[in-house]
Symmetry: C2
Subunit: 501 residues, 2 copies
């Protein structure tokens, strides 16, 4: 006789099977699908989405969850799974199949339009379908419900518990502290970084990226790396977690920190509990926590002096012509150059948050309806002038640069900043608890750090909410001070040292 809980597990695993199949169809779409395959692929994704949705709102599942919610014989983990699934069930119930199908169709058309618009640097090609998509997202806010700001409903999808009210406080601190700090840096003597933009041959870059992933303990038997236009990580189970990268032969930074960043995401997914496949306890907590993993590896580890003490020699060996005359110190300063720039994905770890702040402010207005899609490019350009004193020369380098909106992902961007702030907080705790962590980094020994993350974060899946987990690990809620302390210590040193040269 099957228990309710085991029937529930079976049902969730089947839904996961479909969702992970969709993830493969999407991965293929970004990585290998030939151009003409797009139309039928969109239909296939939409059919699978419809089926997954139907199964997610199945009456039987609902009754099962109602029974399980009051089942006192369940373990603590089982209770958390049921609670999470029960919540999701009722969120899913709010969507009609028609709405889901319409949304997926519009997203698919929107992605194609964005791609064409970006290629041709012509926002007008994207605007009408984006407008349609935003109308649907506004409807979605109403469907999902919210207490204060409609945008809270968008945030909740990616970062359960996050609210406009809290994010406004965080970004106020960004404005109050980070903006003046970056201005101070701008007045200091700038370090040179020209050597990062010499010609770096593609295959050698690829090999170096693979080496970095291996060093991070990314399991290539449970994953692979491919090339795509926009790097991403995707998962079809904890045993098949894939990353993509892109290689710019005239900017070494794109591949290196792209690999480390996606590697950080992938280590989280590979560290989830395969035995609980399909259940909340084998799912990432939130995008913010996911991003904390990628940022921790990318910045706190991957842009540290210690990390490059271990790896710079290997990089010089790979590119002797380009780097033989460049000292580690010069390299370290160059990779931590702070400079306002147009493209989010290649921004330094400080001005990055200005890019996010801009998107956050724009999204709030698009969703609340105070900004029209047709005013978007000029509004975007105005914000870049305002916060970073930059003139945006083209929409391709401006409002068309990110894939997110074309995917209907509103409320997603803020999780990037949350990720950095969590990362700084977690990394401070890891340093406290792993006595010789810095020495290990200097030797390219990354295993203890990974085990610390596995033990403190990965293994739990969704057992804790983001804020609970943060309190469990650090004893406090998310706190911008950790990030600002990290930034202040690191960059004061880099730029004061430069002042004294």
């Amino acid at each position: 006789m099957q228990t309710d809980y085991s029937i529930y597990c079976e049902k969730l695993k089947k839904i996961a099977d479909i969702q992970y199949s969709m993830a493969l169809l999407s991965w293929d779409q970004e990585v290998y699908m030939p151009a003409k395959g797009a139309e039928f692929r969109a239909g296939q994704l939409s059919t699978l989405a419809g089926i997954a949705h139907e199964m997610s709102v199945d009456q039987e599942l609902g009754s099962l969850l109602d029974r399980l919610l009051v089942d006192t014989s369940l373990s603590e983990k089982e209770k958390r799974n049921v609670k999470e699934s029960h919540k999701n069930y009722h969120i899913q119930k709010k969507y009609s199949t028609d709405f889901v199908v319409a949304l997926n169709k519009t997203i698919s058309a929107s992605y194609q339009a964005w791609h064409k618009a970006r290629t041709e640097n012509n926002f007008a090609l994207f605007a009408p379908v984006l407008e349609k998509l935003i109308e649907l997202k506004k409807q979605e806010c109403e469907i999902l419900g919210y207490e204060k700001h409609p945008y809270d409903a968008m945030l909740e999808q990616y970062e359960p518990g996050a609210r406009v009210a809290d994010l406004d406080v965080l970004f106020d601190q960004v404005k109050a502290k980070l903006v003046p700090f970056v201005k101070k840096i701008a007045m200091a003597k700038q370090n040179d970084s020209d050597f990062l933009f010499k010609h770096f041959e593609k295959n050698t870059q690829w090999d170096f990226g693979i080496f970095l992933l291996q060093q991070m303990q990314y399991d290539f038997e449970a994953g692979r790396q491919d090339i795509s236009a926009h790097p991403f990580t995707t998962s079809f189970s904890p045993s098949d977690v894939r990353v993509t990268t892109r290689i710019n032969e005239y900017d070494l930074r794109e591949m290196i920190w792209g690999c480390i960043h996606e590697g950080g995401h992938a280590l989280y997914e590979q560290g989830l509990d395969a035995a609980d496949y399909g259940l909340p306890s084998a799912e990432a907590i939130s995008l913010g926590i996911h991003e904390s993993q990628s940022r921790l590896w990318e910045n706190n580890v991957g842009r540290s002096l210690s990390y490059w003490k271990a790896n710079y020699g290997k990089l010089q060996q790979a590119f002797p012509e380009q780097l033989k005359e460049v000292s580690l110190d010069r390299f370290y300063k160059a990779i931590n150059l702070v400079e306002p720039s147009l493209i989010r994905t290649s921004a330094d770890e400080l001005t990055y948050h200005f890019h996010i702040m801009i998107r956050y402010e724009i999204e709030k207005e698009l969703i609340s309806g105070s900004l029209s899609v047709y005013d978007l490019p000029s509004y975007w350009n105005h914000k870049y002038k305002d916060y970073m004193n930059l003139d945006v020369p083209s929409d391709e380098q401006g409002v068309l640069q990110d894939i997110h909106w074309s995917h209907g992902s509103f409320g997603y961007f803020p999780t990037y900043s949350l990720g950095s702030f969590y990362a700084a907080q977690f990394f401070a705790k890891a340093k406290e608890q792993i006595k010789d962590l810095d020495l290990q980094l200097q030797m390219g020994e990354l295993k203890s750090l990974l085990l610390w993350l596995r033990e403190n974060i990965h293994q739990y899946g969704k057992f804790y909410q983001a804020s609970e987990l943060c309190e469990k690990i650090c004893g406090t809620k998310i706190d911008f001070e950790y990030f600002f302390n990290y930034v202040e210590n690191k960059y004061k040193q880099i730029y004061e040292y430069a002042d004294n040269e």
Copy 2:
């Protein structure tokens, strides 16, 4: 108001969406999936298969098909689609869930046992589960029904309309004509082919294969080529048809004729009517007709002197070291070397049919019960001695070489021979109807031939049955004489010419 027919189309398209999604999961499994991904991938495929099956036997679809079957307002094409779907619906309905579960379980065990048995060259490891599988296949014949021979029910799955009575006639002709013809060839002076087994660098082979596919008019915007252990073609719509190849650096033949063969399959799929996606009118007729397309390109075109008049210069340029001293004439003879051999997949285009005949004879006896699984190896070896005068040194090179039986695919092998025979018949007609086809081949102009295939075969999908199509194109049913004439003309010339050297 939607018509019954348009509802029917929608339902079939959704089923196709799931089946094509499964095809992508399988493609990825063979081509890119990391090792540890296998377990969850199997579960994902099985979940999708279950859903596709449920939708295929849905009561509502059944009633819809019953109504449509007597709907006189439908066009001829619509009627054919409905008739075909109605037939399939009732075939699917015959299977009980218990039987499907038992069959799938046994197939899974059987595949594993076969893999182990082949690796360890120990047939005894495979025999018990194969025996069980054959018992289930016998039951399946009874479930499906047949008029004369139970094996007819197996044939019907892959080649609708094919019967033992007809295949016996075909293979009697193979025995009466092809066996003595090959013996005659064996007595003639054999041409050398050593140069085909020099070292041919992988990337250069790859590029040459891509060139051949482009020349065939394979649309790379609606497909792509990748590497896999066993070459195959798969389709996710007529707009995304993918081929794989394998490259043996010490046998140039594997890549070249692998590419052309899979390219032939792919051109068929790319030529199906995308507007009818999901309907029988956008599906291949049968495995035999599918194989006729791959064989026509592989052999009638790809092993002809005219084709190599166009392409040999390019091949020599690609591999100057290995081929500069080899004349076109020597090359042509080498690639058409006829020699009885143990392994089906690397057989020449004549002795290939002895391999199929042996499997056909064995399958009939296994299904009718006149041959025991335990006598299989000695029976196999006896047949290879009888038809090809070969001693089989081990079961790994004998009865264990093919994957098909372990997958429960009985009735599949004969479609390979049917494909060659259809190919010869179609190609004879194409030559008759395209006046200067031979001249075109000599110039590497393959477009007219493709258009002829598109017009006469591809565009119709399943509108005609195999035998109807053959009569429509050629005015006669399948006739071994076309194949034998092709063979006689080609090989008399090759080997008589050798006699006179």
